[in-house]
Subunit: 302 residues, 2 copies
Protein backbone atom coordinates (compact mmCIF):
# COMPACT_ATOMS: atom_id res chain seq x y z
CA UNK A 1 0.00 0.00 0.00
CA UNK A 2 1.30 3.43 -0.90
CA UNK A 3 0.18 6.99 -0.26
CA UNK A 4 0.69 9.55 -3.04
CA UNK A 5 0.14 13.22 -2.20
CA UNK A 6 -1.58 15.30 -4.90
CA UNK A 7 -2.25 18.30 -2.70
CA UNK A 8 -1.68 18.95 1.00
CA UNK A 9 -2.28 22.66 1.58
CA UNK A 10 -5.27 24.38 3.07
CA UNK A 11 -7.45 26.86 1.22
CA UNK A 12 -6.78 27.66 -2.41
CA UNK A 13 -4.46 26.37 -5.14
CA UNK A 14 -1.41 28.44 -6.01
CA UNK A 15 1.11 27.87 -8.82
CA UNK A 16 2.97 25.13 -7.01
CA UNK A 17 0.78 23.93 -4.13
CA UNK A 18 -2.65 22.38 -4.19
CA UNK A 19 -5.50 21.83 -1.73
CA UNK A 20 -6.26 18.43 -0.21
CA UNK A 21 -6.21 15.41 -2.46
CA UNK A 22 -4.39 12.11 -2.31
CA UNK A 23 -4.21 8.64 -3.80
CA UNK A 24 -3.96 5.43 -1.83
CA UNK A 25 -2.53 2.68 -4.03
CA UNK A 26 -3.55 -0.78 -2.95
CA UNK A 27 -2.84 -3.69 -5.26
CA UNK A 28 -3.73 -2.51 -8.75
CA UNK A 29 -6.34 -0.07 -7.47
CA UNK A 30 -6.16 3.65 -6.72
CA UNK A 31 -8.43 5.09 -4.04
CA UNK A 32 -8.91 8.84 -4.24
CA UNK A 33 -9.30 10.73 -0.95
CA UNK A 34 -10.56 14.29 -1.25
CA UNK A 35 -10.56 16.21 -4.50
CA UNK A 36 -9.38 19.81 -4.09
CA UNK A 37 -9.29 22.10 -7.11
CA UNK A 38 -6.59 21.14 -9.62
CA UNK A 39 -6.66 17.50 -8.55
CA UNK A 40 -6.93 16.18 -12.10
CA UNK A 41 -3.95 18.30 -13.16
CA UNK A 42 -1.96 16.61 -10.40
CA UNK A 43 -3.19 13.14 -11.36
CA UNK A 44 -1.88 13.75 -14.87
CA UNK A 45 1.37 15.30 -13.67
CA UNK A 46 2.18 12.29 -11.52
CA UNK A 47 0.89 9.82 -14.10
CA UNK A 48 -1.83 8.13 -12.08
CA UNK A 49 -4.22 6.44 -14.47
CA UNK A 50 -7.75 7.90 -14.21
CA UNK A 51 -9.18 4.49 -14.99
CA UNK A 52 -7.66 2.79 -11.97
CA UNK A 53 -9.84 4.92 -9.70
CA UNK A 54 -13.20 3.40 -8.83
CA UNK A 55 -13.78 4.81 -5.36
CA UNK A 56 -13.66 8.44 -4.25
CA UNK A 57 -13.88 9.46 -0.58
CA UNK A 58 -14.74 13.04 0.33
CA UNK A 59 -14.11 14.03 3.94
CA UNK A 60 -16.32 17.13 4.07
CA UNK A 61 -17.98 19.76 1.95
CA UNK A 62 -15.49 22.59 2.17
CA UNK A 63 -14.33 23.74 -1.25
CA UNK A 64 -10.67 22.93 -0.75
CA UNK A 65 -11.65 19.26 -0.40
CA UNK A 66 -13.99 18.82 -3.37
CA UNK A 67 -13.91 21.68 -5.92
CA UNK A 68 -11.82 19.50 -8.27
CA UNK A 69 -14.36 16.66 -8.30
CA UNK A 70 -16.92 17.77 -10.86
CA UNK A 71 -14.20 18.58 -13.41
CA UNK A 72 -12.69 15.15 -12.87
CA UNK A 73 -16.05 13.41 -13.32
CA UNK A 74 -16.58 15.42 -16.54
CA UNK A 75 -13.15 14.42 -17.82
CA UNK A 76 -13.96 10.75 -17.25
CA UNK A 77 -16.96 11.21 -19.49
CA UNK A 78 -14.83 12.81 -22.21
CA UNK A 79 -12.28 9.99 -22.18
CA UNK A 80 -15.07 7.44 -22.59
CA UNK A 81 -15.08 5.77 -19.22
CA UNK A 82 -17.30 2.72 -18.92
CA UNK A 83 -16.45 1.38 -15.46
CA UNK A 84 -18.63 2.47 -12.56
CA UNK A 85 -17.46 5.15 -10.15
CA UNK A 86 -18.43 5.25 -6.48
CA UNK A 87 -18.43 8.43 -4.44
CA UNK A 88 -18.56 8.34 -0.63
CA UNK A 89 -19.35 11.83 0.63
CA UNK A 90 -21.51 13.79 3.06
CA UNK A 91 -25.12 14.39 2.10
CA UNK A 92 -25.28 17.39 -0.23
CA UNK A 93 -22.53 16.60 -2.71
CA UNK A 94 -24.81 14.44 -4.84
CA UNK A 95 -27.26 17.36 -5.07
CA UNK A 96 -24.48 19.77 -6.14
CA UNK A 97 -23.07 17.46 -8.80
CA UNK A 98 -26.45 16.46 -10.20
CA UNK A 99 -27.51 20.10 -10.46
CA UNK A 100 -24.31 21.06 -12.28
CA UNK A 101 -24.71 18.18 -14.72
CA UNK A 102 -28.33 19.12 -15.30
CA UNK A 103 -27.64 22.81 -15.93
CA UNK A 104 -24.61 22.11 -18.12
CA UNK A 105 -26.64 19.52 -20.03
CA UNK A 106 -24.03 16.88 -19.31
CA UNK A 107 -24.93 13.22 -19.71
CA UNK A 108 -22.67 11.10 -17.59
CA UNK A 109 -22.35 7.98 -19.69
CA UNK A 110 -20.80 5.70 -17.07
CA UNK A 111 -22.47 4.37 -13.91
CA UNK A 112 -22.02 6.84 -11.06
CA UNK A 113 -23.04 5.76 -7.57
CA UNK A 114 -23.33 8.06 -4.59
CA UNK A 115 -22.97 6.72 -1.06
CA UNK A 116 -24.21 9.57 1.09
CA UNK A 117 -22.75 9.81 4.56
CA UNK A 118 -24.49 11.39 7.51
CA UNK A 119 -23.87 9.08 10.45
CA UNK A 120 -22.13 10.54 13.50
CA UNK A 121 -20.84 7.01 14.23
CA UNK A 122 -18.04 5.12 12.50
CA UNK A 123 -19.27 2.74 9.79
CA UNK A 124 -17.81 0.42 7.19
CA UNK A 125 -18.56 2.10 3.87
CA UNK A 126 -16.71 -0.20 1.50
CA UNK A 127 -15.63 -3.81 1.76
CA UNK A 128 -13.85 -5.80 -0.93
CA UNK A 129 -11.92 -9.10 -0.90
CA UNK A 130 -8.76 -7.19 -0.16
CA UNK A 131 -9.59 -4.31 2.17
CA UNK A 132 -12.29 -2.39 3.91
CA UNK A 133 -12.82 1.33 4.43
CA UNK A 134 -14.31 2.69 7.63
CA UNK A 135 -15.24 6.25 8.51
CA UNK A 136 -13.58 8.00 11.46
CA UNK A 137 -15.90 10.70 12.83
CA UNK A 138 -13.94 13.97 13.08
CA UNK A 139 -14.89 17.34 14.53
CA UNK A 140 -14.66 20.37 12.25
CA UNK A 141 -16.88 23.37 11.44
CA UNK A 142 -19.01 21.11 9.25
CA UNK A 143 -19.86 17.38 9.22
CA UNK A 144 -16.55 15.60 8.51
CA UNK A 145 -15.20 12.06 8.32
CA UNK A 146 -11.71 10.66 8.25
CA UNK A 147 -11.15 7.31 6.56
CA UNK A 148 -9.41 4.15 7.74
CA UNK A 149 -8.29 1.74 5.02
CA UNK A 150 -7.39 -1.70 6.32
CA UNK A 151 -6.11 -4.53 4.20
CA UNK A 152 -7.57 -7.92 4.99
CA UNK A 153 -5.19 -10.71 5.94
CA UNK A 154 -3.76 -12.09 2.73
CA UNK A 155 -3.53 -15.83 1.97
CA UNK A 156 -0.64 -17.86 3.37
CA UNK A 157 2.06 -18.64 0.80
CA UNK A 158 2.65 -22.22 -0.32
CA UNK A 159 6.05 -23.59 0.67
CA UNK A 160 6.51 -25.37 -2.64
CA UNK A 161 9.67 -27.23 -1.54
CA UNK A 162 7.82 -28.67 1.44
CA UNK A 163 4.65 -29.49 -0.46
CA UNK A 164 6.61 -31.43 -3.12
CA UNK A 165 7.83 -33.87 -0.48
CA UNK A 166 4.26 -35.13 -0.13
CA UNK A 167 3.12 -36.62 -3.45
CA UNK A 168 -0.33 -37.20 -1.94
CA UNK A 169 -0.93 -33.42 -1.92
CA UNK A 170 -2.48 -32.65 -5.30
CA UNK A 171 -2.96 -29.14 -6.69
CA UNK A 172 -6.67 -29.05 -5.81
CA UNK A 173 -5.64 -28.96 -2.15
CA UNK A 174 -3.56 -25.75 -2.46
CA UNK A 175 -6.64 -23.54 -2.10
CA UNK A 176 -7.30 -24.77 1.45
CA UNK A 177 -3.64 -24.79 2.42
CA UNK A 178 -3.37 -21.09 1.54
CA UNK A 179 -6.35 -20.47 3.77
CA UNK A 180 -4.50 -22.05 6.70
CA UNK A 181 -6.11 -25.49 6.75
CA UNK A 182 -4.18 -28.66 7.58
CA UNK A 183 -3.92 -31.38 4.93
CA UNK A 184 -5.93 -34.48 5.82
CA UNK A 185 -4.83 -37.73 4.17
CA UNK A 186 -7.35 -40.36 3.06
CA UNK A 187 -6.43 -42.45 6.13
CA UNK A 188 -7.33 -39.50 8.34
CA UNK A 189 -3.77 -38.61 9.28
CA UNK A 190 -2.81 -34.95 9.20
CA UNK A 191 0.03 -32.82 7.81
CA UNK A 192 -0.08 -29.58 9.81
CA UNK A 193 -0.46 -26.38 7.77
CA UNK A 194 2.66 -24.73 9.18
CA UNK A 195 4.78 -27.52 7.62
CA UNK A 196 3.39 -26.66 4.17
CA UNK A 197 2.99 -22.87 4.08
CA UNK A 198 4.73 -19.61 4.92
CA UNK A 199 3.12 -16.62 6.63
CA UNK A 200 1.25 -14.15 4.42
CA UNK A 201 2.53 -10.64 3.67
CA UNK A 202 1.52 -8.58 6.72
CA UNK A 203 -1.58 -6.45 6.20
CA UNK A 204 -1.29 -2.71 6.17
CA UNK A 205 -3.53 0.03 7.46
CA UNK A 206 -3.73 3.72 6.70
CA UNK A 207 -5.87 6.53 8.11
CA UNK A 208 -6.65 10.00 6.74
CA UNK A 209 -7.77 12.53 9.34
CA UNK A 210 -8.44 15.97 7.88
CA UNK A 211 -9.92 18.44 8.75
CA UNK A 212 -10.33 18.15 12.50
CA UNK A 213 -9.75 19.82 15.79
CA UNK A 214 -7.55 17.87 18.25
CA UNK A 215 -9.83 14.94 19.02
CA UNK A 216 -8.33 12.19 21.18
CA UNK A 217 -11.42 10.02 20.84
CA UNK A 218 -10.27 9.02 17.34
CA UNK A 219 -7.41 7.08 18.95
CA UNK A 220 -9.27 3.74 19.30
CA UNK A 221 -9.88 3.78 15.52
CA UNK A 222 -6.25 4.27 14.58
CA UNK A 223 -4.51 2.27 17.32
CA UNK A 224 -1.23 0.82 16.01
CA UNK A 225 -1.86 1.52 12.33
CA UNK A 226 1.03 1.73 9.88
CA UNK A 227 0.52 5.25 8.57
CA UNK A 228 -1.55 8.20 9.78
CA UNK A 229 -2.07 11.37 7.74
CA UNK A 230 -3.25 13.98 10.22
CA UNK A 231 -3.94 17.60 9.46
CA UNK A 232 -1.68 20.24 10.99
CA UNK A 233 -3.04 23.50 9.68
CA UNK A 234 -1.27 25.54 12.33
CA UNK A 235 1.77 25.59 14.58
CA UNK A 236 1.36 25.61 18.35
CA UNK A 237 1.95 29.36 18.41
CA UNK A 238 -1.48 29.68 16.78
CA UNK A 239 -3.25 27.05 18.85
CA UNK A 240 -6.06 29.45 19.78
CA UNK A 241 -6.72 30.03 16.10
CA UNK A 242 -6.63 26.26 15.55
CA UNK A 243 -9.25 25.78 18.25
CA UNK A 244 -11.38 28.59 16.89
CA UNK A 245 -11.33 27.35 13.28
CA UNK A 246 -11.52 23.70 14.40
CA UNK A 247 -8.14 22.68 13.08
CA UNK A 248 -5.10 21.05 14.70
CA UNK A 249 -1.53 22.09 15.36
CA UNK A 250 1.52 20.00 14.47
CA UNK A 251 2.03 19.27 18.16
CA UNK A 252 -1.54 18.07 18.58
CA UNK A 253 -1.25 15.80 15.55
CA UNK A 254 1.95 14.35 17.01
CA UNK A 255 0.23 13.77 20.35
CA UNK A 256 -2.53 11.80 18.62
CA UNK A 257 0.07 9.73 16.72
CA UNK A 258 1.97 9.03 19.93
CA UNK A 259 -1.07 8.11 21.98
CA UNK A 260 -2.37 5.84 19.21
CA UNK A 261 1.04 4.18 18.80
CA UNK A 262 0.96 4.55 15.02
CA UNK A 263 4.09 3.53 13.14
CA UNK A 264 4.46 6.70 11.05
CA UNK A 265 2.82 10.12 10.88
CA UNK A 266 2.50 12.40 7.86
CA UNK A 267 1.41 15.99 8.45
CA UNK A 268 -0.55 18.06 5.93
CA UNK A 269 -3.19 20.75 5.24
CA UNK A 270 -0.72 23.52 6.00
CA UNK A 271 -1.92 27.10 6.23
CA UNK A 272 -0.23 29.39 3.74
CA UNK A 273 0.82 31.73 6.55
CA UNK A 274 3.99 29.71 7.22
CA UNK A 275 6.81 30.22 4.72
CA UNK A 276 8.90 27.38 6.16
CA UNK A 277 7.01 24.11 6.41
CA UNK A 278 9.88 22.25 8.03
CA UNK A 279 8.68 23.98 11.22
CA UNK A 280 5.72 21.56 11.31
CA UNK A 281 8.07 18.57 11.36
CA UNK A 282 10.30 20.17 13.95
CA UNK A 283 7.39 20.91 16.27
CA UNK A 284 5.89 17.41 15.88
CA UNK A 285 9.26 15.73 16.51
CA UNK A 286 9.36 17.06 20.04
CA UNK A 287 6.48 14.66 20.74
CA UNK A 288 6.77 11.92 18.12
CA UNK A 289 9.87 10.87 16.17
CA UNK A 290 8.52 9.04 13.12
CA UNK A 291 7.04 11.97 11.31
CA UNK A 292 7.38 13.68 7.96
CA UNK A 293 5.57 16.46 6.15
CA UNK A 294 3.45 15.91 3.06
CA UNK A 295 4.46 17.59 -0.18
CA UNK A 296 2.86 17.62 -3.62
CA UNK A 297 4.21 14.67 -5.59
CA UNK A 298 5.70 12.88 -2.56
CA UNK A 299 4.88 9.21 -1.91
CA UNK A 300 4.95 7.25 1.34
CA UNK A 301 5.18 3.48 1.69
CA UNK A 302 2.47 2.42 4.16
CA UNK B 1 -6.03 47.38 -23.93
CA UNK B 2 -4.33 44.01 -23.60
CA UNK B 3 -5.42 40.41 -23.78
CA UNK B 4 -3.74 37.90 -21.44
CA UNK B 5 -4.39 34.21 -22.04
CA UNK B 6 -4.82 32.08 -18.90
CA UNK B 7 -6.13 29.02 -20.70
CA UNK B 8 -7.01 28.36 -24.33
CA UNK B 9 -7.60 24.63 -24.67
CA UNK B 10 -10.85 22.73 -24.91
CA UNK B 11 -12.01 20.19 -22.37
CA UNK B 12 -9.95 19.47 -19.28
CA UNK B 13 -6.82 20.88 -17.67
CA UNK B 14 -3.57 18.98 -18.07
CA UNK B 15 -0.20 19.69 -16.45
CA UNK B 16 0.68 22.51 -18.81
CA UNK B 17 -2.51 23.56 -20.60
CA UNK B 18 -5.73 24.94 -19.20
CA UNK B 19 -9.34 25.32 -20.35
CA UNK B 20 -10.79 28.66 -21.44
CA UNK B 21 -10.03 31.71 -19.35
CA UNK B 22 -8.57 35.10 -20.17
CA UNK B 23 -8.00 38.58 -18.84
CA UNK B 24 -8.71 41.79 -20.72
CA UNK B 25 -6.67 44.61 -19.23
CA UNK B 26 -8.21 48.02 -19.80
CA UNK B 27 -6.81 50.98 -17.90
CA UNK B 28 -6.23 49.79 -14.36
CA UNK B 29 -9.00 47.20 -14.55
CA UNK B 30 -8.94 43.51 -15.34
CA UNK B 31 -11.99 41.91 -16.95
CA UNK B 32 -12.16 38.14 -16.63
CA UNK B 33 -13.69 36.22 -19.51
CA UNK B 34 -14.56 32.59 -18.78
CA UNK B 35 -13.21 30.73 -15.81
CA UNK B 36 -12.10 27.19 -16.67
CA UNK B 37 -10.72 24.94 -13.94
CA UNK B 38 -7.32 26.06 -12.67
CA UNK B 39 -7.98 29.68 -13.59
CA UNK B 40 -6.92 31.01 -10.21
CA UNK B 41 -3.67 29.06 -10.39
CA UNK B 42 -2.98 30.81 -13.69
CA UNK B 43 -3.92 34.23 -12.29
CA UNK B 44 -1.32 33.72 -9.58
CA UNK B 45 1.28 32.32 -11.94
CA UNK B 46 1.05 35.34 -14.22
CA UNK B 47 0.73 37.78 -11.31
CA UNK B 48 -2.64 39.31 -12.12
CA UNK B 49 -4.01 40.89 -8.96
CA UNK B 50 -7.28 39.27 -7.85
CA UNK B 51 -8.48 42.59 -6.55
CA UNK B 52 -8.33 44.34 -9.91
CA UNK B 53 -11.11 42.08 -11.18
CA UNK B 54 -14.61 43.41 -10.67
CA UNK B 55 -16.42 41.95 -13.67
CA UNK B 56 -16.55 38.32 -14.76
CA UNK B 57 -18.12 37.26 -18.07
CA UNK B 58 -19.08 33.62 -18.61
CA UNK B 59 -19.86 32.62 -22.20
CA UNK B 60 -21.78 29.42 -21.50
CA UNK B 61 -22.35 26.74 -18.93
CA UNK B 62 -19.99 24.03 -20.11
CA UNK B 63 -17.56 22.97 -17.42
CA UNK B 64 -14.41 23.96 -19.28
CA UNK B 65 -15.64 27.57 -19.19
CA UNK B 66 -16.66 27.93 -15.54
CA UNK B 67 -15.46 25.11 -13.25
CA UNK B 68 -12.76 27.43 -11.89
CA UNK B 69 -15.21 30.11 -10.84
CA UNK B 70 -16.53 28.91 -7.50
CA UNK B 71 -13.00 28.27 -6.21
CA UNK B 72 -11.99 31.76 -7.25
CA UNK B 73 -15.01 33.33 -5.50
CA UNK B 74 -14.14 31.33 -2.36
CA UNK B 75 -10.54 32.53 -2.49
CA UNK B 76 -11.69 36.13 -2.67
CA UNK B 77 -13.56 35.54 0.56
CA UNK B 78 -10.47 34.09 2.22
CA UNK B 79 -8.29 37.02 1.23
CA UNK B 80 -10.81 39.44 2.71
CA UNK B 81 -12.22 41.06 -0.38
CA UNK B 82 -14.52 44.00 0.23
CA UNK B 83 -15.16 45.35 -3.28
CA UNK B 84 -18.22 44.12 -5.13
CA UNK B 85 -17.95 41.47 -7.82
CA UNK B 86 -20.25 41.29 -10.84
CA UNK B 87 -20.88 38.09 -12.75
CA UNK B 88 -22.47 38.14 -16.21
CA UNK B 89 -23.49 34.59 -17.09
CA UNK B 90 -26.33 32.51 -18.52
CA UNK B 91 -29.26 31.74 -16.24
CA UNK B 92 -28.35 28.75 -14.06
CA UNK B 93 -24.91 29.71 -12.83
CA UNK B 94 -26.29 31.75 -9.96
CA UNK B 95 -28.31 28.74 -8.84
CA UNK B 96 -25.22 26.48 -8.95
CA UNK B 97 -23.02 28.89 -7.01
CA UNK B 98 -25.63 29.73 -4.40
CA UNK B 99 -26.32 26.06 -3.79
CA UNK B 100 -22.63 25.27 -3.37
CA UNK B 101 -22.20 28.14 -0.91
CA UNK B 102 -25.27 27.03 1.00
CA UNK B 103 -24.21 23.38 1.28
CA UNK B 104 -20.60 24.25 2.13
CA UNK B 105 -21.87 26.76 4.72
CA UNK B 106 -19.86 29.52 3.05
CA UNK B 107 -20.74 33.13 3.82
CA UNK B 108 -19.58 35.34 0.99
CA UNK B 109 -18.62 38.49 2.84
CA UNK B 110 -18.31 40.83 -0.15
CA UNK B 111 -21.14 42.04 -2.41
CA UNK B 112 -21.71 39.56 -5.23
CA UNK B 113 -24.04 40.57 -8.05
CA UNK B 114 -25.35 38.22 -10.71
CA UNK B 115 -26.44 39.53 -14.09
CA UNK B 116 -28.27 36.60 -15.61
CA UNK B 117 -28.25 36.40 -19.39
CA UNK B 118 -30.92 34.70 -21.46
CA UNK B 119 -31.59 37.02 -24.39
CA UNK B 120 -31.11 35.61 -27.90
CA UNK B 121 -30.38 39.19 -29.04
CA UNK B 122 -27.22 41.22 -28.51
CA UNK B 123 -27.43 43.55 -25.51
CA UNK B 124 -25.20 45.98 -23.65
CA UNK B 125 -24.53 44.30 -20.31
CA UNK B 126 -22.02 46.73 -18.82
CA UNK B 127 -21.31 50.39 -19.44
CA UNK B 128 -18.74 52.50 -17.64
CA UNK B 129 -17.14 55.88 -18.37
CA UNK B 130 -14.41 54.12 -20.29
CA UNK B 131 -15.92 51.19 -22.16
CA UNK B 132 -18.99 49.11 -22.74
CA UNK B 133 -19.49 45.36 -23.04
CA UNK B 134 -22.03 43.89 -25.42
CA UNK B 135 -23.05 40.27 -25.92
CA UNK B 136 -22.57 38.59 -29.29
CA UNK B 137 -25.10 35.76 -29.68
CA UNK B 138 -23.22 32.59 -30.69
CA UNK B 139 -24.48 29.15 -31.70
CA UNK B 140 -23.23 26.17 -29.72
CA UNK B 141 -24.82 23.07 -28.15
CA UNK B 142 -26.06 25.24 -25.28
CA UNK B 143 -27.01 28.94 -24.88
CA UNK B 144 -23.78 30.88 -25.49
CA UNK B 145 -22.64 34.49 -25.81
CA UNK B 146 -19.48 36.06 -27.10
CA UNK B 147 -18.47 39.45 -25.70
CA UNK B 148 -17.49 42.67 -27.43
CA UNK B 149 -15.53 45.17 -25.35
CA UNK B 150 -15.36 48.64 -26.87
CA UNK B 151 -13.52 51.56 -25.37
CA UNK B 152 -15.32 54.86 -25.50
CA UNK B 153 -13.62 57.77 -27.24
CA UNK B 154 -11.12 59.21 -24.80
CA UNK B 155 -10.74 62.95 -24.07
CA UNK B 156 -8.67 65.11 -26.42
CA UNK B 157 -5.20 65.96 -25.08
CA UNK B 158 -4.34 69.55 -24.14
CA UNK B 159 -1.62 71.05 -26.33
CA UNK B 160 0.02 72.82 -23.40
CA UNK B 161 2.46 74.80 -25.56
CA UNK B 162 -0.44 76.19 -27.57
CA UNK B 163 -2.66 76.89 -24.57
CA UNK B 164 0.12 78.86 -22.82
CA UNK B 165 0.13 81.39 -25.64
CA UNK B 166 -3.35 82.52 -24.58
CA UNK B 167 -3.15 83.92 -21.00
CA UNK B 168 -6.94 84.38 -21.05
CA UNK B 169 -7.39 80.56 -20.97
CA UNK B 170 -7.49 79.68 -17.29
CA UNK B 171 -7.28 76.14 -15.93
CA UNK B 172 -11.03 75.90 -15.28
CA UNK B 173 -11.50 75.91 -19.08
CA UNK B 174 -9.37 72.79 -19.67
CA UNK B 175 -12.27 70.45 -18.90
CA UNK B 176 -14.28 71.72 -21.88
CA UNK B 177 -11.27 71.90 -24.20
CA UNK B 178 -10.57 68.19 -23.58
CA UNK B 179 -14.18 67.50 -24.50
CA UNK B 180 -13.63 69.21 -27.88
CA UNK B 181 -15.25 72.57 -27.23
CA UNK B 182 -13.86 75.83 -28.63
CA UNK B 183 -12.71 78.53 -26.19
CA UNK B 184 -15.00 81.58 -26.14
CA UNK B 185 -13.46 84.87 -24.94
CA UNK B 186 -15.42 87.39 -22.87
CA UNK B 187 -15.83 89.53 -26.01
CA UNK B 188 -17.43 86.57 -27.78
CA UNK B 189 -14.48 85.84 -30.06
CA UNK B 190 -13.43 82.22 -30.46
CA UNK B 191 -10.21 80.17 -30.34
CA UNK B 192 -10.98 76.94 -32.22
CA UNK B 193 -10.47 73.69 -30.30
CA UNK B 194 -8.06 72.19 -32.87
CA UNK B 195 -5.59 75.03 -32.13
CA UNK B 196 -5.52 74.04 -28.45
CA UNK B 197 -5.75 70.26 -28.33
CA UNK B 198 -4.35 67.09 -29.87
CA UNK B 199 -6.42 64.07 -30.92
CA UNK B 200 -7.21 61.47 -28.21
CA UNK B 201 -5.63 58.05 -28.13
CA UNK B 202 -7.63 55.95 -30.58
CA UNK B 203 -10.20 53.69 -28.95
CA UNK B 204 -9.76 49.96 -29.05
CA UNK B 205 -12.17 47.08 -29.41
CA UNK B 206 -11.87 43.40 -28.67
CA UNK B 207 -14.23 40.48 -29.17
CA UNK B 208 -14.25 37.00 -27.65
CA UNK B 209 -16.16 34.37 -29.63
CA UNK B 210 -16.05 30.92 -28.04
CA UNK B 211 -17.63 28.38 -28.31
CA UNK B 212 -19.46 28.59 -31.59
CA UNK B 213 -20.12 26.90 -34.85
CA UNK B 214 -19.12 28.94 -37.97
CA UNK B 215 -21.67 31.74 -37.76
CA UNK B 216 -21.26 34.55 -40.33
CA UNK B 217 -24.09 36.57 -38.81
CA UNK B 218 -21.73 37.65 -36.00
CA UNK B 219 -19.82 39.73 -38.59
CA UNK B 220 -21.82 42.97 -38.16
CA UNK B 221 -20.94 42.95 -34.44
CA UNK B 222 -17.19 42.64 -34.97
CA UNK B 223 -16.74 44.69 -38.15
CA UNK B 224 -13.30 46.31 -38.21
CA UNK B 225 -12.43 45.64 -34.56
CA UNK B 226 -8.81 45.57 -33.43
CA UNK B 227 -8.61 42.07 -32.04
CA UNK B 228 -10.81 39.00 -32.40
CA UNK B 229 -10.36 35.84 -30.34
CA UNK B 230 -12.26 33.14 -32.18
CA UNK B 231 -12.44 29.50 -31.26
CA UNK B 232 -10.81 26.95 -33.57
CA UNK B 233 -11.39 23.65 -31.85
CA UNK B 234 -10.67 21.67 -35.00
CA UNK B 235 -8.73 21.74 -38.24
CA UNK B 236 -10.57 21.66 -41.56
CA UNK B 237 -9.87 17.93 -41.90
CA UNK B 238 -12.38 17.47 -39.06
CA UNK B 239 -14.95 19.98 -40.27
CA UNK B 240 -17.77 17.43 -40.05
CA UNK B 241 -16.93 16.87 -36.40
CA UNK B 242 -16.81 20.65 -35.91
CA UNK B 243 -20.31 20.97 -37.38
CA UNK B 244 -21.61 18.07 -35.32
CA UNK B 245 -20.21 19.36 -32.00
CA UNK B 246 -21.02 22.98 -32.95
CA UNK B 247 -17.44 24.17 -33.01
CA UNK B 248 -15.35 25.94 -35.67
CA UNK B 249 -12.25 25.06 -37.67
CA UNK B 250 -9.20 27.33 -38.01
CA UNK B 251 -10.19 28.02 -41.61
CA UNK B 252 -13.71 29.05 -40.61
CA UNK B 253 -12.39 31.38 -37.89
CA UNK B 254 -10.07 32.96 -40.47
CA UNK B 255 -12.98 33.40 -42.87
CA UNK B 256 -14.94 35.26 -40.19
CA UNK B 257 -11.93 37.50 -39.43
CA UNK B 258 -11.44 38.25 -43.12
CA UNK B 259 -15.09 38.98 -43.83
CA UNK B 260 -15.33 41.21 -40.75
CA UNK B 261 -12.12 43.04 -41.66
CA UNK B 262 -10.71 42.71 -38.17
CA UNK B 263 -7.15 43.88 -37.62
CA UNK B 264 -5.85 40.78 -35.88
CA UNK B 265 -7.12 37.28 -35.11
CA UNK B 266 -6.14 35.03 -32.22
CA UNK B 267 -7.20 31.37 -32.37
CA UNK B 268 -7.92 29.24 -29.31
CA UNK B 269 -9.95 26.44 -27.68
CA UNK B 270 -7.83 23.78 -29.36
CA UNK B 271 -8.84 20.16 -29.15
CA UNK B 272 -6.20 17.97 -27.51
CA UNK B 273 -6.21 15.65 -30.53
CA UNK B 274 -3.65 17.81 -32.35
CA UNK B 275 -0.07 17.46 -31.14
CA UNK B 276 1.17 20.39 -33.26
CA UNK B 277 -0.84 23.57 -32.73
CA UNK B 278 1.09 25.55 -35.34
CA UNK B 279 -1.18 23.73 -37.82
CA UNK B 280 -4.05 26.00 -36.73
CA UNK B 281 -2.06 29.09 -37.65
CA UNK B 282 -0.92 27.58 -40.93
CA UNK B 283 -4.47 26.68 -41.94
CA UNK B 284 -5.86 30.09 -40.98
CA UNK B 285 -3.10 31.94 -42.86
CA UNK B 286 -4.30 30.57 -46.15
CA UNK B 287 -7.34 32.81 -45.66
CA UNK B 288 -6.18 35.59 -43.33
CA UNK B 289 -2.63 36.82 -42.71
CA UNK B 290 -2.79 38.63 -39.37
CA UNK B 291 -3.30 35.63 -37.15
CA UNK B 292 -1.62 33.98 -34.20
CA UNK B 293 -2.44 31.13 -31.86
CA UNK B 294 -3.24 31.62 -28.20
CA UNK B 295 -0.98 30.04 -25.61
CA UNK B 296 -1.12 29.96 -21.82
CA UNK B 297 0.75 33.01 -20.50
CA UNK B 298 0.85 34.83 -23.85
CA UNK B 299 -0.33 38.45 -24.10
CA UNK B 300 -1.62 40.38 -27.10
CA UNK B 301 -1.75 44.15 -27.47
CA UNK B 302 -5.24 45.05 -28.70
Amino acid sequence: MKLHILGCHSATPRSTVFPSSQIVETGNELLLIDAGEGMQIQLRKYKHKFNKIQHIFISHLHGDHFFGLVGFLSSLRLIGREKPMHIYAPVGLKQIIEMIFKLTQTDINYPLFYHELSSPESEIILETDKYHVKTIPLRHRIYTNGFLIQEKPALRKLNIEAVKQYPEIETWAYHNLKRGKDFVREDGSIIPNEKLTLPPTPTKSYAYCSDTVYKPDIIPFIKGIDLLYHEATFLEVHKDLAAKTKHSTAKQAAQIAKDAGVKFLVLGHFSSRYPDESQFKKEAREIFQNVDIAEEGKSFEV
